[in-house]
Amino acid sequence: MKRIYFDHNATTPVHEEVVTAMLPYLTEEWGNPSSIHWAGRAPKKAVEEARDKVAALFNCTPAEIIFTSSGTEGDNHAIKGLAYARKDKGNHIITTKVEHPAVLNTCKQLAKEGFDVTYLGVDSGGLISVDELEKAITPKTILITIMYANNETGVISPIKEASDVAKKHGVAFHTDAVQAAGKVPIDLSVLNIDLMAISGHKLYAPKGVGALYVKRGTRLVPLIHGGHHERNRRGGTENVAGIAALGKACEIAGRDMEKEAAHLSALRTRLEKGLAEKVPHITINGHPEKRLPNTANVSFEFVEGESLLLNLDMKGIAASSGSACTSGSLEPSHVLLALGVPVENSHGSVRFSLGKGNTAEDVDFLIEVMPPIVERMRSMSPLYAGIKL
């Protein structure tokens, strides 16, 4: 059976060039980058070169990049580290209702510790109001954390405007850029972002590595205490191979971004148009333009998303509902609910997230197999009524 992968927002395959770049540090150059002797030299160089490459993708200085184990660690480090460092100045944090659990649950934990958290709503397109954000700021506000692009809908937040507001009020600004990094240009030299988390495995590097941008001069309490790694900001011997991989992945992302974005948005249009033509009663969720080029979030009315995904899987097509981190939960997507999508529709929502390997044939295959599946599932409820009683 042909295998088609439409779940790149969950994770991506590791790019061949990335594998090549990381392999030496799993084989001959296995040394500890902190060592003063010969064994540490090549690994140290690899880590610093990777730092240069990550910094280059986001137009910041290498010293502003801390390597982490994941996007979640970066979000935790940024939010908790900033909150603890500034707790004498205030205890108010502003975020949104559509954040990834890495941010939402970190804020929840801080709320338990005595911080006040404001959760901004979004409009039907998934966008926050910058006016509302500004009105939410109080003298006690120390941190604003707003995701760069949403993992479920791909909607891109007004980061420039929001971070300008934060700067104007002297509030630190963090963004979870896990989904945006490598997909859309992010220029930190023109954005008032103080903290930004990214993850390797969403941009064709392996799992287990990420990075946190910390603007020069931003004081953070470390999340992981230990040795003098990462300029005392993050303890733990560096994941050299992973870091080398992340560096390479960022280099490739920068190099290929324009071409990739054009390829992906053309495929996405093909997918959305094709489905809309062949399957009645569907809606595309999220702002039609202000979106990542690769993400399509589609509600199929009168259908249960879970069964739809299993049926697709049996045809070899990988897609997901909501985020992989919350799969197994039948709670309707908090993101779609925040957009005002009715509960029934959110249950029938599927996220198709495209990536490098996808082709027009893949999309056409989806469009071909989808209508009978949806039709059968829609016909199932009345059909089943006979079985039920």
Binding site: N311, M314, G328, R376, M377, M380
Partner: protein, 367 residues
């Protein structure tokens, strides 16, 4: 099955040995199998139930065991979330049963609603022809329709838990273990090297932890002490909250001059009614919410009296001869030929003719 398109079967996998063997047997028989485990319970959020991560049913460790077996057999495997239905249809039913002084049977409800409604529907959504489970029971098909039969292993027979099945459900169900003994099933699992071959039998109620069902209920029902009285209205002591007791119980009454047995649970007056061994016997019972699998038996019970059936009034009951008469379309009077003890309202009564399940219902009260 050569030539035709393979029939697809969704196999309900609990993570235990029986459903593992069910999958292996069907695979061997040439079916296009899909393994599915129902996620019944949010193990992360609940403090009391399923504190243990294994040993019950469908816990995270059990899901992993089921997945490992499916992987080993090269079968696609899915976990489907049915927490909401389970909580409403099984757990709430269970708690409410005790609140009403009954002895509920959540396993029957789980089969009836979770397996043969919710999961069967999901199976049909996956274009399956059948749903299979690891129950020790058999299904036969004849001109007069489908019959539900006891499993060949008299010790393991689970047909009691399946009396609510409809003809439609039976037509789409497979019980591949019905012809095996438990020993044979284990040996088969062992031969295939299935991870679950040595797994111990699940006991008790799957969603209550090792602390037992009373501990589970005590987090949901406020225990109100009350009097323990005899049939003659004589107060002999205090009870610790009615949900801690079931009809027929002897231990844990903490009364001198015993043994005493629980005869009834009077929720209206918050009293526990007890008596001597001989007081437990009754002539029969009234059952409602009847389901008939054998239509001829139903017609006999409706138009007259269905004589000489064997009825089981709880799972481990040896069975007693009785006659059944429908008093309306939905209720029946069951008269035992000899007095029988410990008729517990809330339990199921299942009617058998030798190995065949004719039908059954829920016990309202003893006669």
């Amino acid at each position: 099955m050569t030539g035709d398109k393979k029939k697809r079967v969704v196999v309900a996998m609990s993570g235990g040995v029986d459903s593992s063997v069910a999958l292996a047997l069907l695979k061997e028989q040439g079916f296009d199998c899909v393994g599915v485990t129902m996620q019944l319970w949010d193990y992360s959020a609940k403090d009391d139930a399923c504190g243990a991560t294994t040993g019950s049913c469908c816990s995270p460790d059990d899901v992993n065991d089921a997945r490992a077996v499916a992987d080993k057999l090269g079968v696609p495997f899915y976990v489907v979330n049915v927490e909401e239905a389970f909580s409403k249809e099984v757990v709430d039913y269970f708690v409410n049963g005790y609140l009403n002084g009954q002895t509920p049977n959540p396993c029957v409800k789980c089969n009836q609603i979770l397996k043969f409604e919710t999961l069967l529907k999901k199976a049909l959504c996956l274009e399956a022809d059948f749903l299979a489970t690891g129950h020790y029971a058999r299904i036969a098909n004849s001109a007069s329709g489908y019959s539900l039969l006891k499993g060949v292993d008299q010790d393991k027979d689970q047909s009691y838990f399946l009396f609510t099945m409809t003809q439609e459900q039976l037509s789409r169900t497979l019980f591949p273990l019905g012809g095996l003994t438990k020993k044979e099933a284990r040996a088969y699992a062992g031969r295939l090297g299935l991870k679950t071959s040595e797994k111990k039998e699940s006991q008790e109620i799957c969603f209550a932890s090792d602390a037992g069902y009373a501990a589970f209920l005590s987090n949901r029902i406020t225990a109100e002490e009350g009097d323990i009285v005899t049939l003659e209205n004589k107060t002999l002591g205090r009870h610790k909250g009615l949900f801690n007791y079931t009809v027929g119980q002897r231990k844990g009454l903490n009364l001198s001059g015993g043994p005493f047995y629980v005869l009834g649970i009077d929720t209206a007056k918050n009293r526990l009614i007890i008596g001597r061994e001989g007081d437990q016997y009754s002539n029969g019972l009234v059952a409602s919410e009847l389901n008939w699998i054998n239509n001829a038996a139903k017609n006999t019970a409706l138009s007259g009296v269905l004589e000489n059936v064997t009825v089981k009034i709880r799972y481990r009951h040896a069975g007693v001869k009785a006659c059944v008469k429908m008093t309306n379309g939905n209720s029946a009077e069951v008269r035992f030929t000899a007095k029988e003890k410990a008729v517990a309202p809330g339990q199921a009564v299942v009617f058998y003719n030798n190995d065949e399940v004719l039908g059954g219902g829920w016990i309202d009260h003893a006669l």
